[in-house]
Amino acid sequence: MKKEKFLSQLRTLFRLYKAAFYLRLFEEQLSKEYHPANQMQCPVHFCIGQEAVPSALKLLLKKKDYVFSHHRSHGYFYSKSLPLQKLVSELYGKKGGANSGFAGSQDISYPKGNFFSGAILSGAIGVAVGKALDMKLNSKNNVVIAGFGESACDVGLFWEAINFSNLRKLPILFICENNNYSVFSPQNKRQSGYDIFQKVQKFSLRSNSFQIDGNKINLVYKKIKKLIKLIKKKKGPFFLETITYRISSHYGPNSDLDVGYRSESELNKWIKKCPIKNLENFLINKKYLSHEKIANIQNKYSREIKSFIDNAKKDKFLLVKNLEKFNYDFDIFKKKKIKKITIPNYNLSVNKDKIVGY
């Protein structure tokens, strides 16, 4: 019995490993394509080093759950198990992209898959709270994930969101991936006093705000699993701060070492703490994984990712005559009258007669 449980745990770990490994390869392959080819002409914020949260979410989220992300959006897109071809094509600005080239990497959304993102820090958190309120009012048993970095906690809107979701006990999980940097500026240069999770805790009388090592995928997985379960039991909201690190540069494929905000030794320290490598070593030790198997997986994944990139390159750009109309719901550009709303007992019609006289 004990052995079975252990095996099932190993299976979960292996699934987590595969998810994180895939995401790492995906980001690395894209970042290799980013500059020399220069066909992805939009700011792309890679999440190399921050794979733990998205991989955990990937195993846990259901179709009807919602994810709201910041500009470092690829991991969250991936966590909703959405078609990655749509993501890659969007980076290339092509017709087949999730938003046909209207959004790009930092503004991508996939409404059919309940995934949204945006590049203004903390803005998407407010939107996420609204979705959670809607779920609560209409007794839906799903969760809303608001993912963001610690820089979003500089913003007032974040604190309004924390207050309100605690006030109304909303089914939302706030995940703060604390990678210590707002572009180049470290947290202690921008924030005072206690850690974010400690400050957030003060908004509730019960314990609902936590901090964990965000590079231990298994730990992150277990914690999020538990919190989602509690949220579904109407115990929300929860706040989770995961301490992690962005190995890639703020955006693009470099290391940012030339900027001077982080030292090479700091970077190397975190590369040693790489979430994927640790899990890989553990699984190899337990004889659940071998170098040969890893090579096989890598081959398979790389081929798939390459095919996404190739397809995106081959795809066409969307061309439109009238950009204005894409800003509004299409209805108003049709020449017909505004549609009647047919509702029993009411005859709502468009009233075009001119009114004279006050």
Binding site: G126, V127, V129, G130, L157, I355
Partner: protein
């Protein structure tokens, strides 16, 4: 169509009431909306009929309130009405309006639209001062992706509100506090008004007044006065919606009458009146035969004291002076 005589604030209240009755997915959210006086009477009694779930008081967190409304209508079923007691307070929501709501549809390409109506009230008089009386209709009309209405009478207030609640386009409705007690015969049944249709409130041949918002009232009074006393007919056009704006009607009157005064209840520089003048100018070739003037607030903030305040706002006297100048040309 049966009509009854009701005030501007009652017309808004009726629009909300009827919309909420028609569709149980309509929500009204704003500070103090669930108290008896409501927001100047416009939300009174709604909570009694539709409950706290649908008529929600909100913390003094305008930023969150507006951005939250996006999340609330992502199911493409909910229709959200947000109420701001003053447009000045609404400015905390600028990020939500400008960076999120206005471009939400655009950046998602075509899969989502937002049924959000933002009611923003502009204060005037009795020492409202510089933080309670600004009107930003031209700011918002400048923004693609949202519509802006500035109803001048109860009939418009009701019709545009119902239209925007049931449409899929985010809309800002700017309501002038000084109009709230004005009464008019308004259809009892709910109705929708089309955006982008200006209203020729008075027909005339000698001069055309194009007015925005509450100044329409002034224009009508002046037009009636001229007709009665001098048999001079002044056409009055209420612009009603600034985005989209009814270029056709404005140009038609301008070409017919050749003399136009634009009244704009806001600052002159870079404002809505400038846009209207640009629209009119483009329609003509021989500029010498045509005259356009505009009257708006000075490029200054609103002072508090009654004496200074009356100097700031547009008076009928000031409009008449300009009309005389133009009539003599």
């Amino acid at each position: 169509m049966k009509k009854h005589l009701i005030s501007y604030s009652r017309a808004i209240n009726e629009a909300l009431d009827q919309s909420m009755k028609i569709d149980r997915n309509v929500y009204v959210i704003g500070q103090l909306v669930d108290y008896k006086p409501g927001v100047f009477g416009t939300t009174s009694d709604l909570v009694k009929k539709y409950g706290e779930k649908r008529v929600q008081d909100f913390p003094v967190a305008e930023s969150l309130m507006t951005s939250m409304s996006i999340g609330m209508c992502l199911n493409q079923i909910n229709k959200i009405v947000l109420v701001h007691h003053r447009i000045d307070f609404m400015l905390y929501s600028m990020d939500a309006i400008v960076n999120w709501i206005s471009l939400w549809k655009f950046k998602s390409y075509k899969d989502t639209s937002l049924s959000i109506t933002i009611r923003a009230i502009v204060g005037k008089g009795w020492g409202q001062g510089p933080q309670h009386s600004k009107s930003f209709h031209s700011w918002f009309a400048n923004l693609p992706g949202i519509r802006v209405a500035i109803p001048s009478c109860p009939y418009d207030a009701k019709g545009f509100l119902i239209e925007s609640i049931f449409s899929k386009i985010p809309t800002i409705i700017i309501e002038h506090r000084s109009l709230f007690e004005d009464k008019q015969l308004v259809p009892i049944n709910p109705y929708r008004l089309e955006f982008g249709k200006a209203n020729v409130v008075r027909k005339g041949n000698d001069l055309c007044i194009i007015s925005i918002g509450y100044l329409t009232k002034f224009a009508i009074n002046i037009s009636d006065y001229y007709k009665k006393n001098f048999n001079i007919t002044l056409e009055v056009i209420d612009v009603r919606t600034l985005s989209p704006i009814d270029k056709k009607t404005l140009i038609k009157s301008f070409l017919k009458i050749k003399k136009v005064i634009v009244l704009d209840p806001s600052w002159k520089s870079y404002g809505a009146s400038a846009e209207i003048v640009a629209i009119l100018q483009k329609s003509i070739k021989n500029k010498k035969k045509y005259f356009i003037e505009r009257i708006s607030y000075p490029d200054s903030h609103t002072p508090m004291s009654p004496k200074l305040e009356s100097k700031f706002y547009i008076s009928e006297k000031k409009i008449i002076k300009k009309i005389q100048e133009l009539l003599n040309k």
